[in-house]
């Protein structure tokens, strides 16, 4: 058995292990490379934070990620680039078919984005700066140093603002997070684990390790006999003679999501006949948690306090959504299902379940959540607006939202799947006429069927339907980035100048 110190945390960027929650001041910079040589010089000495724990914890952090254009601009060979996934190479907004899948149509269409909406607008570099309160300006100065201004052009500094550990609608954020099983102690074999677990194989989040299928996700591997520089890179576990450019790196998905906070609360207030309890009840049903983060399914483990129970539950006992509606935001984003519909007792029962017998027609539609988990690292922006103020007609209008960030090993099976098959799917788990009540666009189906409802099942009779939900969340920008391991960063910064074939 490996010890926890065995994991190469010194080669990982810190965001993979920490949320940097204490570092409340942030600056997310979108950069273009204007001089690749200077950019590499800057990169050589840039104080990129690793995932090693420090005591006391640092009061600043710096993380870096590149879009495919950024890697090309720095001179990464096309044969290496081709080792990345198609989603990364094509980009979030690079293909209409992808936009359709992601729900980036109508108001969310890339043509209307503030950044990243077309190939020319995709930033090369994403720089994430973190500091304790009041420290960001000084940290920015420190980081920029000698070469920065010659190397990069600042396209945009994405707004972020700490408003407490909540997102702008007022709900606690980032409660449900997978726990990375760094030491790979848990089996990924479905025969040994068919129930939902929060432990996740490292390969689901970090490239170069076994994922939940027990496989290695495809990533760029380099033959160091042909490329001397690659000797700095770690070896590929699954293909030992080759060097692993992806190892200890991850894909970073960034989306700027604008949230209409007054619109959300005013709509709820209206359909709740201005009764505060009803309003909060409906809001909780839509989110799938109460305003303090308490999940809606009843505690079924006696002795566990409500607080710990925030993330310690599944929907197994609530298959019809009587407590937490099937379409609630947190249920769609993580249905917490195991590999088999319900726990199998004995091999015969297991066989019956595998063969699909003994189920209700609406059962087992959503299974195997473990293949679709996201490590979220988003930050909110815009001034705080409490629900009680948001319902007032004169509620201050301001741009509010979240810079949604998630880290995944496989963009299409994780981020895109969750977005497409779960949150934006008007047929998720057999629901009718609804998309994610919070995130969903309200585009009708081809047949004209509406998708702007929200249904709460009611065990005593017909379900309760809220109609004509306006769109509360709009995509303003987004992109797919690669966040390399520290040795891969060394490799990038050492790329020879003559290889630089800036595409622009």
């Amino acid at each position: 058995m490996k010890e926890s110190s065995d994991f190469e945390f010194d080669d990982l960027q810190g965001l993979l292990r920490f949320g940097y929650g204490k570092l409340t001041d942030t600056s997310f910079m979108l950069l273009n490379i204007v001089n690749a040589d200077l950019a590499k010089k800057w990169l050589e000495t840039a104080p990129i934070s690793s995932a090693i724990t420090q005591d006391p914890p640092p009061d600043t952090a710096l993380q870096i990620a590149f879009s495919v254009e950024g890697l090309r601009a720095l001179g990464l060979e096309e044969s290496v680039v081709e080792g990345f996934s198609d989603e990364f190479i094509v980009g979030m907004a690079g293909d209409e078919s992808r936009s359709r899948r992601l729900g980036d149509v109508g108001n969310n269409a890339p043509q209307q984005w503030k950044w990243g909406g077309n190939a020319a607008q995709v930033p090369h570099v994403l720089l994430l700066l973190y500091a304790t309160k009041g420290g960001i300006t000084a940290w920015q100065k420190t980081i920029e140093g000698e070469y920065f201004s010659g190397a990069f052009q600042l396209l945009q500094e994405l707004p972020t603002l700490y408003i407490g550990d909540i997102e702008p609608f007022g709900f606690p954020d980032s409660i449900s997070q997978p726990t990375v099983d760094w030491m790979q102690r848990q089996s990924t074999d479905t025969h040994e684990r068919d129930r939902y677990s929060n432990l996740l194989a490292p390969g689901e989040i970090v490239l170069g390790y076994r994922n939940e299928y027990g496989q290695y996700t495809a990533r760029p591997l380099i033959d160091s006999r042909k490329d001397q520089l690659a000797t700095v890179l770690p070896g590929a576990e699954d293909d030992p003679p080759l060097k692993d450019f992806g190892r200890n790196g991850t894909y970073l998905v960034l989306r700027q999501l604008s949230q209409d906070v007054p619109g959300f609360w005013q709509f709820l207030d209206k359909v709740s006949d201005h009764i505060p309890e009803k309003r909060e009840q409906l809001a909780a049903a839509m989110v799938g948690r109460e305003l303090d983060g308490t999940p809606l399914v009843p505690a079924h483990i006696p002795g566990i306090s409500r607080k710990e129970y925030e993330n310690d539950f599944t929907y197994d006992q609530d298959s019809k959504g009587n407590y937490c509606p099937l379409g609630a935001h947190v249920r769609r984003s993580n249905p917490r299902t195991g590999d088999l519909p319900t726990s199998a007792c004995g091999p015969l029962d297991r066989l019956i379940k595998i063969l699909g017998f003994g189920q209700r027609p609406d059962e087992d539609l959503i299974a195997s959540s473990r293949f679709h988990r996201l490590l979220r690292r988003g930050r909110s922006y815009g001034p705080a607006l409490a629900p009680k103020d948001a319902i007032k007609p004169q509620a201050p209008v301001a741009e509010r939202g979240i810079q949604f960030i998630c880290l995944v090993g496989n963009i299409s099976r994780q981020f895109e799947f969750v977005q497409n098959a779960w949150t934006m799917n008007s047929k998720f788990d057999g629901v009718q006429n609804e998309k994610d009540p919070m995130l969903g666009n309200r585009e009708p189906l081809m047949s004209g069927e509406s998708t702007d409802h929200f249904n709460s099942p009611d065990p005593s009779g017909p379900r309760r339907t809220t109609c004509h939900l306006p769109q509360f969340v709009t995509t303003l920008g987004g992109g797919y980035f690669f966040m390399p391991g520290l040795r891969a960063l060394k490799y990038i910064s050492a790329l020879p100048a003559n290889r630089t074939g800036s595409p622009s």
């Binding site: 198609d86 379940k353 009779g461 017909p462």
Partner: protein
């Protein structure tokens, strides 16, 4: 009960006609790959017994893969396939098709070998060029297009009415609510805005054949079992040897190929899938393939005929067809959700079944004892299934916006209208569906 059947008319495309044919077929669409139901060539929307239909130009894009087995690829000419899933028998459907769309059909088929637009016996040609599937899957045997439309209309109108009346009557007063809904349905039926046509009697010859098949197949297998057991042992060992020695291909599909496929996808809640490839060389592989498909067909007909195929509830229709004198195989399906979720569902829920039915195809990831590994090799599987997928020129679905789960629910709602629930819990369950 009206049983479903399928047809697949195939003919090689004449040399030099491929481009014209593609353009002609594209003229039937209103979205990439999606038929306009009122298109001028074959107005699918006018037929009330077509569930799904598609035109595919079958090209052997992956023909070279078999070289890895030391076999020279067989020549293959681009072939037009017109396939559909229909209510009732093929013969009467072909007649109906000709009656409504003769000029369009002739125009399309005139691009094919052995068809002349002027003096062709269209019906005869279509029948002569029809090939049967080795296995077919129907999500719900007996559920007709007409029934689907009627039940969807019932659901729609009940759902609007329920929302209006629930609060007046009182949500907890479920008996009174049901009474209201039932009278409402009677009223609407009387006005003619709702129709619930009773099922047609099951054709006796179909019933007979189905029964014979249900009993006959196991009976023959039982009779042959002493022999089969011996053969099975030899086959198992031989297959295991092949699994160990067969080359594993790990070829990523090109982005151009993927873009060609994805542009047709996710326009609505369901998608189509057409895949074509070679059967692995050797008689052991072929016989295993055939035997597994025989079983697949048997289970699809007699066991998985009411809403689920093992744990999968998102497939409407599917078929496996041998072509090119058993050297190649074509698979087509109509499924709900996006391609990625279809494949993930497959891997996670029925990877074993996928392995069984496709392990004998060239390019399929290495399996163990034909049910293990395979699809679980995620990348290898996802690459190969996309590589072997071919674009569909024209695709028609009779009930856009409806998933197989929707159809099953609508049938349960109708059932509740026709058969009274016996207790309050059942009434509540019924109301919760609407």
């Amino acid at each position: 009960m009206t049983p479903q059947s399928s047809f697949m008319i195939v003919a090689a495309v004449r040399d030099g006609q491929l481009k014209d044919l593609r353009a002609l077929l594209a003229s039937m669409n209103n979205l990439p790959g999606h038929a306009d139901p009122d298109n001028g060539l074959i107005p699918f929307g006018k037929f009330d017994r077509v569930h799904f239909a598609r035109f595919v130009i079958i090209e052997a894009r992956t023909a070279q893969e078999i070289r890895e087995f030391g076999v020279t690829p067989r020549p293959w000419r681009p072939t037009l396939a017109f396939l559909g899933d229909i209510d009732g028998d093929m013969q009467t459907f072909f007649l109906e098709l000709i009656e409504r769309a003769e000029p369009g059909l002739k125009k399309i088929f005139s691009h094919c070998e052995g068809f002349s637009e002027e003096d062709q016996d269209l019906l005869g040609w279509m029948k002569a060029n029809n090939i049967n599937a080795s296995a077919t899957y129907v999500n719900w045997i007996g559920r007709t297009v007409r029934q689907i439309h009627e039940e969807a209309a019932l659901h729609r109108s009940l759902s609007i009415y329920l929302q209006k009346t629930a609060d007046d009557v009182g949500r907890e007063n479920v008996r009174a609510l049901r009474q209201k809904l039932l009278s409402y349905v009677e009223m609407e039926k009387y006005k003619g805005t709702l129709t619930l046509t009773p099922p047609e009697p099951t054709p006796p010859e179909w019933k007979m054949r189905n029964l014979l098949h249900m009993i006959g197949v196991p009976l023959i297998l039982l009779l042959l079992s002493p022999l089969l057991l011996v053969i099975a042992l030899i086959f198992a060992l031989r297959l295991r040897m092949l699994e160990r020695s067969d080359p594993e291909l790990f070829i990523r599909p090109s982005r151009e190929h993927l873009a060609e496929l994805t542009v047709q996808e996710d326009q609505d809640v369901s998608n189509q899938y057409s895949v074509f490839g070679d059967v692995k060389p050797g008689v052991v592989r072929l016989l295993t393939f055939k035997f597994i498909l025989l079983l697949t067909d048997y289970f699809a007909r007699h066991v998985y005929n009411h809403g689920f195929l093992a744990r999968i509830k998102t497939i409407h229709f599917a078929r496996w067809v041998f072509m090119d004198n058993n050297h190649r195989v074509f698979f087509a399906s109509n499924y709900d959700g996006s391609h990625e979720s279809y494949m993930d569902d497959f891997i996670n829920k029925v990877g074993w079944g996928l392995n069984l039915t496709f392990t004998n195809g060239v390019g399929y990831p290495t399996t163990q004892w034909i049910i293990k590994e395979g699809a679980n090799r995620e990348h290898a599987f996802k690459y190969t299934q996309r590589r072997h997928q071919i674009p569909t020129e024209v695709w028609y679905k009779a009930y856009p916006g409806l998933t197989a789960v929707d159809l099953a629910r609508n049938s349960r709602i109708r059932q509740g209208v026709e058969i009274r629930q016996s207790n309050d819990a059942e009434i509540r369950e019924w109301l919760s569906l609407i």
